[in-house]
Symmetry: C2
Subunit: 138 residues, 2 copies
């Protein structure tokens, strides 16, 4: 392992009605609201081909997560047996990257509205990628 | 935007027969070889429930990518019209995170063998997440 730091620069922010981690649904298919992603002006060219109707993966940096957590009770339920975080979608994990499959609903300059994004207001967005294939895995 | 740096710590490395970026297929479904992921001992507990037969997303840090690239000719083919990188899976992008959907073929302690990983030998691995749902989008 090298110790050289790998530094992420946010490319935008989530604007959402979800303001508290306790409000966020445990998975994106459980009723997360639509949200806006506001992309920084510096990345306008990178965002130029994002289109309403496209399915994309939004990668976020879950900045309130605990990076020292290696095992969890899934869904924060003590009744669920402990699992290693790489076998869960827990936000608490060594690199707290959120992976969200969403549909782009609307594009307004460098702001895009997406379906069903389970990230709280202000969450840094670090990448957007097209989904390859037509199915609905996330 | 905050300027506070978000720092990634690799959780492991790819061990692959692919040693040169030019050898890597453009997408993981185009004949990438099986590869091993060697997880750092510090993250053994996080990896404890990874099992052969599971579909997972492997997130990598594509450390040879150009982070200043905002638009590309997809698949490095000048005949393809230029597109913003957020509408492509180009490795060259502001935060060069690779997203690879793979199947776990074998687990040997903290080393796991996976199908079809289009990342070159030595690539830092930054996260592993289970796929939710049964389909094959990547």
């Amino acid at each position: 392992m090298t110790d050289e730091p790998l530094v992420i620069h946010p490319i935008g922010r989530v604007e959402s009605a979800l303001v508290d981690r306790g409000d966020a649904p445990k998975q994106g298919n459980e009723g997360a609201p639509d949200a806006w992603i506001s992309i920084d002006e510096a990345f306008r060219a990178a965002a130029r081909d994002l289109e309403a109707g496209s399915e994309v993966f939004v990668l976020t940096w879950l900045d309130r997560a605990d990076r020292n957590t290696l095992t969890v009770h899934p869904r924060d339920d003590p009744a669920n047996p402990v699992r290693g975080v790489f076998a869960t979608r827990s936000a608490d994990r060594p690199n707290p990257i959120g992976l969200h499959r969403v549909e782009i609903l609307e594009v307004e300059g460098t702001r895009i509205r997406v379906s069903n994004l389970e990230a709280i207001d202000g969450t840094p967005v670090i990448d957007i990628k097209p989904v390859l294939g037509a199915s609905d895995a996330r």
